[in-house]
Amino acid sequence: MQLTFYALFAPFIAALFAPMLVRMFNHNAGWILAVVPALLFFHYTGFLPEIAGGGRVTGGVEWIPSFNVNFSWFIDGLSLTFALLITGIGTLIILYAAGYMKGHPQQGRFLSFMLMFMGAMQGLVLSDSFLMFFVFWELTSITSFLLIGFNHDKERSRRAAMQALVVTGLGGLSLLAGLIVIWNITGVSEISLLLGTGDTLRESPYYLAAFLLILGGAFTKSAQFPLHFWLPNAMEAPTPVSAYLHSATMVKAGVFLLMRMNPVMGDTVLWETVLPLFGGVTLLVGTWLAVRQTDLKLMLAYTTVASLGLLVMLTGFGTDKAIEGAVLYLIAHSLFKGCLFMVAGNVDHEAGTRDVTKLGGLMAAMPITFGAALLAALSMGGLPPFVGFLAKEEIYYGIAAADGWSMFITAVAIVGNALMLVIGFAVALKPFLGAKVETPKAAHEAPLLMFAGPLVLAVLGLVGGLLSGAFHKFFSSPMASAVAGTPLKIEISVVPHLGLALTLSLVTVALGVAMYWAMAWLRGRMANLLEAIGWGPDIGFDQFMQSLVKGAAALTRKIQTGSMETYVTIVFVALLVSLFGGLYKADEWPQIPEFPRLFVYEWAVILICVIGLFSVIIAKNRLTAIVSLGIQGFGVALLFMLMGAPDLAFTQFMVETLSVVILALVMTRLRLLPQDHRSNYQIVQDGLISLGVATALTLILLGVVQTEFDPTLTEFFNAYSYTIAHGKNIVNVILVDFRGVDTFGEIAVVMVSGLAILALIRIMPRKTNPDLPRSENTEEII
């Protein structure tokens, strides 16, 4: 159990050492770093027998016990299969990345990011506690941002990274809100416990809110239409990233979330309508847009969008077979899509282009890569005896039925699958077969580091199909059971079985082959259609961001006028309203106090204060006014001392002195006019506001003095200040001991404001250069 605890941190620790190892061993560091995910993979295989037997493993340590938040993990069929995919494919990807990025000056950083992402993804699927789940979810968004923007000197990369972060980040917030809603409805904050709450969630009046918020998280992460646009743009990332994050793992996090929630949120009309609808649309849009592309990676990216749509559609369809199909397809997709991306990377790396129209006849030069590509494409096309075939058969078993909705969904699935086959073959066959085309680089086979990954994945897709019994026993059946919430047993195999599903498969294949031959024509049609529409969510995103920035700027201009007088007026009017409002609302007007009986010298001090204030008002220039205000301050300090508050008096003296000094310095610094320039109207207005605030404060203070004094705190500090804190000066003891943390925060604030003031003073408006546009001049000042 404790081993899993360390497993959750292992990739992050490896990430720490990656740059150092790369400096020492160059690209061969990949061999060392890949050991970490490989060990994790073997660690998780150890759970297989227990999970296959229907078991569930939980464990963890207390994190914040007072909030009932734990650092806990939960392993069942769903999370185990995901963990194995993440660590298994992760091992191959690290090796691949080592070869692909060989000689890149920032390879260490790249491998470090990849390992961090792996840690985040692993944590995401294994998390039991909601908060952990959310934290890892956001970590995948952040690491994905770093990876997409890896080529940060390219503007397109930066835009794609920002776009992915904004979309998935917003989804993450939606997820957090959703989890909190679920937490409130069910009262549990752990997934393992949530799965045991039965119908609580479904019957709650807040089901809709939870449903929409969770969907917000899942649909952004899994790139469902119309939020799919960030995924193709993310292809700006180096190919290992696309192969790992944007096909096999991260984008499946949304599907993972839906599958996780299926036992407690599924089986409602809402669930079974919205999911298939959005999934189906995404499937069709994704495949049709894929046909349009000529870049190998973009073609694959759009089919990934389509596959995610298919998975969402199946998860929401509601039959057990559909879930089995979804599970099989998810595993198959991770294998063949990861492989095909790496193949695309190899072609790009060795031939120098990814444009499918400029490639051809590479088979002789790159036989191993071609082999891997062919196997993967056959699996993607759903041909026997590959895992993809099992998936497709099971999908048709799951959704084909006589009613209208099922027939509609089936039709969608057939068209989608046929187009998937088209793209699979276009990526795997077109660059390798036919006449040799002149490529920017003289192509030759990729090195071992780079063909190992795709080959292993492609072969696994074949082995899984052939040994379907063991495959189902250890992977697909436990996973499907976890998704359905009831034990399921998958039995599909490659042995021919006549029936509806096989017929539909044949239709799909026939349709696919037909469309493959007509691909050039289809591509032209799609291009014309898209041109006719002219607008897409991708452009919409830019418009959204632009209007956001413009709106923020307009709002700032409106409320931040830059005039100090306006700010001060607003602050004091607000103070006035809230003080009087409070007194009025509570109806606690003070009684008029009796005339105070003071000593003569106390009267004298008060007189000094009044004289000080009077001279502030009549002062001819500002400096005199500031100093006169100081007189009043000193008078009050004197009163504090006479009334028995030496600490307060002491501080008041110092604060008065320093504020007079600093105010005077500010005045000279800002080169203010010595005279006040306010108009009579403004003088009256300001005078009224200050009189109002003064009256309100006086009333409040009188009211406070007139209420009965609660001596609890005084007694407490009197009694304990010396016995506990060894100090007789209660004020100081409170500051440095009883409320020490408060003071700590306050001095931090003092220091930060000191820094801010320093920065403000140091901003010297340089002489504006009239030749430069305004914005550049401002930048200089900042």
């Binding site: 600490d647 320093l658 003891v733 440095v736 020490g740 001095i747 220091m751 003073i761 140091r762």
Partner: protein, 139 residues
């Protein structure tokens, strides 16, 4: 403000005030005083010195950038709190020792360290502001 008398008196005045500020800081636990007020006194001492003799003598005299002094103060306050964690009591719990030096019992505590931290933060932040304002045109 560069009158001869002021300029002659200011250094003595400043040193007296600085000594007094330390005195106020140290007596704070039992008598009126403490880190905050001590820091204010020290800051005004330096402000006076600056007004009388100009900014660069002050900067030379205190050797470090005032913000660095403030930063060190915040660091000290944090350390005072963290020491408590090592003896398994909550953050910022006061710890006391009573060593005897030359036959006099001294009461030393982490709260004293904390208070010195407060003193330095207040001194540094305000001095930094005052000095920056006193400085005429830069460059």
């Amino acid at each position: 403000m560069r009158t001869l008398i002021f300029r002659t008196v200011a250094p003595y005045f400043t040193s007296l005030m600085l000594i007094y500020s330390v005195f106020v800081l140290l007596r704070g636990h039992n008598e009126p005083g403490g880190g905050f007020i001590g820091g204010l006194i020290a800051a005004s001492a330096l402000a006076i010195y600056g007004i009388a003799c100009g900014v660069s003598p002050v900067r030379r005299a205190i050797r470090f950038h005032p913000m660095a002094i403030a930063g060190f103060g915040l660091f000290m306050a944090a350390i005072a709190g963290i020491i408590s964690l090592f003896v398994n009591v909550p953050f910022l719990t006061g710890l006391w020792i009573y060593p005897e030096i030359f036959g006099v019992e001294l009461k030393l505590s982490t709260t004293l360290v904390f208070d010195i931290g407060v003193y330095l933060v207040v001194l540094g932040s305000i001095t930094s502001t005052a000095l920056a304002l006193e400085e005429r045109e830069r460059d």
